[in-house]
Amino acid sequence: MRKLSTFNLASLFIGIAFLYLPIAILVVYSFNASRLVAVWGGWSTHWYAALAADAPLLGAAFTSLRVALISASAATFLGTLAAVALVRFGRFRGRLPFAAMIYAPLVMPEVITGLSMLLLFVAISVDRGFWTVVIAHTTMAMCFVAVIVQARLVDFDMSLEEAAMDLGASPTRTFMAVTLPLILPAIAASWMLAFALSLDDLVIASFTTGPGATTLPIRIYSEVRLGVSPEMNAVCSIMVAVVGIAVIAASLLTKLGAARGGPARL
């Protein structure tokens, strides 16, 4: 039985509070009737109402959602392929540079990846806009997907695949019928991560976007550069709520999957 010392308990408590307090404050202030942070004008939802009327903002939100959906799905597909190649294909030729290209974007500063992709699009004379952002986000996210799925595959019991093949399933059938269902939680989690990364990204989107494809973070950024505003607080609170509900729903689903049988391993 591990004992939790006071110091440990305190670190946990302070740590978690530190993480959530700023968000909590932000949400509270989105209901501030007064425009000024210094003055508390009572509870009000009129900033949320103002949001609904803000067409450019809603447009940006919609664009962000579309970009996120498409790039997350593409990234999950590519990233899963990459993970399978890294884990199951042994030491194939060109493995080292392949792995390098997968791990590098994880840590590369976004200004560099954003800048380089923009210069690519200019060099091949492609008009920047919706699709260039999608391509950029896919490239960035597939590396995260690869790392997560790879971690799960490494843990995966190979004898299950051998058993499937022994019983007559070809390698492709084995993957579809045995491997995939069992790593599905990891794939789903990485899809959500790719979605969140895309929805959230400012720097890369700024470099690779074009007219008519303004994403929500770009819009928010241009507003908050000028200072704090309650409308922004409202937007952010909504986004926090949406993401919070999604994550909680996802973890409940995973637990449900576990209860019904089969491991819920991530």
């Binding site: 670190s11 978690i16 199951r88 792995a99 590369m108 200004v111």
Partner: protein, 309 residues
């Protein structure tokens, strides 16, 4: 080698299997490697007031003549320019300094949190992991903006400090280095806590029990056993935070001021404000060169984690 340790290799490689490698490989070469080479090339070019704002342009139609013209037009002028103006050197130095200091702070704050997480009962641990990740799912921009709210001159932090009588006048937080530190530590904390937690969680309890059995007090066992064995997690977490922090843009831009011109901001300014693509590229290339050693170390660490299985 016993019967249990044998290489489990797929002996049959089909066409489908080759595709599995080639598709992501091709994508990464096209959208990751090639762009880098283009950045390199442009950093060796000169500014031009046109779209695209640089010369020489690579004209495929001109054939060999075009390629020759391309190489003739390359120059190291931009790099010379970087060397001549102290602004750039200071920017690099500042970025490394801020990133390094933040990483140390992250270690100091993150380690106890990760350690405390491993000491909780198993079921609580899953919940804790989700709670550490949850803020990460919410927008990065939002979280920095949240700190803008708090650190304002008449914001809640100052009001708390005044109420507790810790200061006489509300201090200025925004547009200072301190605000940048707070922002970086706040945003990158999950990146430090999770690798640390993953490593600490795998630690074999019986090692500590053996130490106790041999007469080692708890704090000493921590210092001699837990800490060294958590080194891979420490390195992974530190690099995962340090490397991107060096090139950070949003945090210094929103929380810092003109006094904290980190290199990410410099690239942004050169590119969007000055429309000087060659210089921006040169700055980016130098940054990559600066970071290449930590990046290689990071990749080596990550690969080792996979190889071991």
């Amino acid at each position: 080698m016993t019967d249990a340790h044998r290489t489990r290799q797929k002996p049959y490689r089909s066409f489908m299997a080759k595709l599995v490698v080639r598709i992501p490989y091709a994508w990464l070469i096209a959208f990751f490697l090639v762009p880098f080479l283009i950045v390199l090339k442009i950093s060796l070019s000169q500014t031009a007031i046109a779209q695209p704002p640089y010369t020489p342009v690579f004209d495929l139609a001109a054939g060999w003549h075009g390629i020759a013209r391309l190489f003739a037009g390359l120059s190291l002028d931009n790099y010379a320019f970087l060397g001549s103006d102290p602004l750039y050197f200071l920017s690099y130095a500042k970025s490394v300094e801020i990133a390094a200091f933040s990483t140390v702070m992250l270690l100091i704050i993150g380690y106890p949190i990760a350690y405390a997480m491993t000491r909780t009962p198993r079921r609580v641990q899953a919940v804790l992991v989700v709670s550490v990740i949850l803020p990460f799912w919410t927008s990065f921009l939002i979280r920095i903006y949240a700190w803008m709210n708090i650190l304002q001159h008449d914001g809640p932090l100052n009001r708390l400090l005044l109420a507790l009588d810790l200061v006489r006048e509300p201090p200025v937080w925004l547009s200072t280095n301190t605000a940048v530190y707070i922002g970086i530590v706040y945003s990158y904390l999950p990146f430090m806590v999770l690798p640390l937690y993953a490593t600490l969680e795998k630690l074999d309890e019986s090692l500590l029990e053996a130490a106790a059995d041999l007469g080692c007090p708890r704090w000493k066992a921590f210092w001699l056993i837990t800490l060294p064995l958590s080194a891979p997690g420490v390195i992974a977490g530190a690099l995962l935070c340090f490397i991107p922090a060096v090139g950070e843009f949003v945090i210094p831009d929103l929380l810092g001021g003109s006094r904290t011109a980190m290199i990410g901001q410099t690239i942004w300014t050169e590119f969007f404000a000055n429309k000087d693509w060659p210089t921006a590229s040169a700055v980016a290339v130098v940054l990559v060169c600066l970071l290449v050693t930590p990046i290689v170390i990071f990749q080596h660490q990550t690969m080792r984690g996979v190889e071991r299985d």
